[in-house]
Amino acid sequence: MNVINFEQHNCKKLRAYLDSYLNNELLVETTHEVLRHLENCPECSEALENRRRVKQRLKTAVMKESAPPALEEKIRKSIRKDTARGWPVWMLVAAAAVILIAVGIIGLRLRDRSTSTRTDAVAVSAGGRILEVGLKDHVHCALDSGFANRVFTEAEMREKLGPEFFGLVGLVKEKIPGNYQVVVGHRCKANGRQYVHLILKSPQTALSLVVTQKNGESFTQNQVAAILESSGGPIFGAHMDNLEVAGFETRDYLAFVVSDLSREDNLQMAAALAPQVQTFLSKLSV
């Protein structure tokens, strides 16, 4: 531990620590050294008193001001106005789409029941918690292992993803909002499963795009959260462990978008990425 020794008359050195002393931010040992210097130096004691006075005067002067009484009511009104506005149009459209697809799925199931009942049953049992597969990698890798706080160069991502999957980085960059950037792209392993993992960051949050090979699994239709306008394909969704998980699939791969965004924002991000990511994954041979 470094203890600062303020030799007598070393006022310049001590002044650099005066504010920290005033705010009780120094180590006990350093505080003792400051006190020892102050006892023998009236100039520094005066400087300390001066800084204490400035801080107090500043606080008193600024805190004298308060918000106009009408402002609180204005804010309440704007919140009520926003509340009364109800759900945005796109959410209503999404809700309508979900209802339509649910009706469609029921119709399909009724039609297929006579021919594929056994296959259906296998898919449901294997896919019941399939959205957890993506969630686990986000929690293990982006959050617990701290990869969300790292920034890889493009060369590092190319090396870690390999030529097969590096193309994902470019197409994701094209589709994400301007306040997001791809900070990590690598292959990782969680719970004995291999993943291709991209971490996207905005000033507010970190989000994962997780891809893994299918292991005989598929999402279950009761987890459909939205329908892609472009392809009519479903996006599956669930809220787990205080995170939002959205999933989509190709013949051989499962893909997940996991974040702490709201359900609608996370779904929107998944919907923005899904068409290109699905095309990319469909071209890969397993």
């Binding site: 002044r15 100039e43 001066n50 006075r53 801080k55 500043l58 001001e65 704007s78 509340t83 000033p203």
Partner: protein, 183 residues
């Protein structure tokens, strides 16, 4: 709809107690009551819209300051005629060597006028740390700058404030006797 109203009430009771804190900070940064009101109102509306992302049990006040500064950032160019911070750093390093005493006879208006003469980058850190008493970490998060930058700006901001206050005092003929002692 009932759910949203209940949520709005929850938001109002969690966030509105900090209205004065946000307003006076915005006021000291804009120097204009109308502008400060608009910024604070916008910050509250944005906070409400992202309230579902606020983690209960975390510091609501620090979260609101972060949103306020995000809003301010968007409006900043309109009303800040800022010099490059690095240039300012140089100027301060060159000119501050003497620690002038601050007269107790200065009025609150003098103190506020002195605060407003400090460049915005320093002023906002001094306001957050020394008036609103946010931790360095909270101030760094609110301003979206590194912790080290908070500390260096705070150090320089405090020095500037002392200098401005002393200049006010000498303008009134106070503190004329002190010489240029090194500090």
């Amino acid at each position: 709809m009932f759910g949203r109203s209940a949520k709005a009430e929850e938001f109002e009771s969690a966030a509105l107690p900090y209205l004065n804190d946000l307003f006076r900070t915005a006021l000291r940064l804009t120097r204009d009551r109308g502008e400060a009101e608009d910024l604070v109102q916008e910050a509250y509306l944005q906070a409400w819209k992202s309230f579902h992302r606020f983690a209960p049990g975390t510091n609501c006040r620090a979260w609101l300051f972060k949103i306020l500064f995000h809003v301010i950032q968007h409006h900043r160019r309109k009303w800040f005629k800022m010099r490059l911070v690095n240039d300012e750093d140089e100027r301060i390093e060159e000119t501050i060597s003497y620690e002038p005493p601050v007269s107790p006879t200065l009025s609150d208006e003098d103190v506020l006028a002195a605060v407003e003469k400090i460049p915005p980058h320093y002023r906002e850190v001094v306001l957050l740390a020394d008036v609103e008493e946010l931790s360095y970490k909270e101030a760094a998060a609110a301003l979206d700058i590194p912790l080290g930058t908070v500390m260096s700006r705070l150090n320089r901001g405090r020095k500037l404030l002392r200098q401005e206050l002393a200049e006010f005092a000498s303008g009134y003929g106070i503190n004329q006797k002190e010489g240029g002692r090194g500090a």
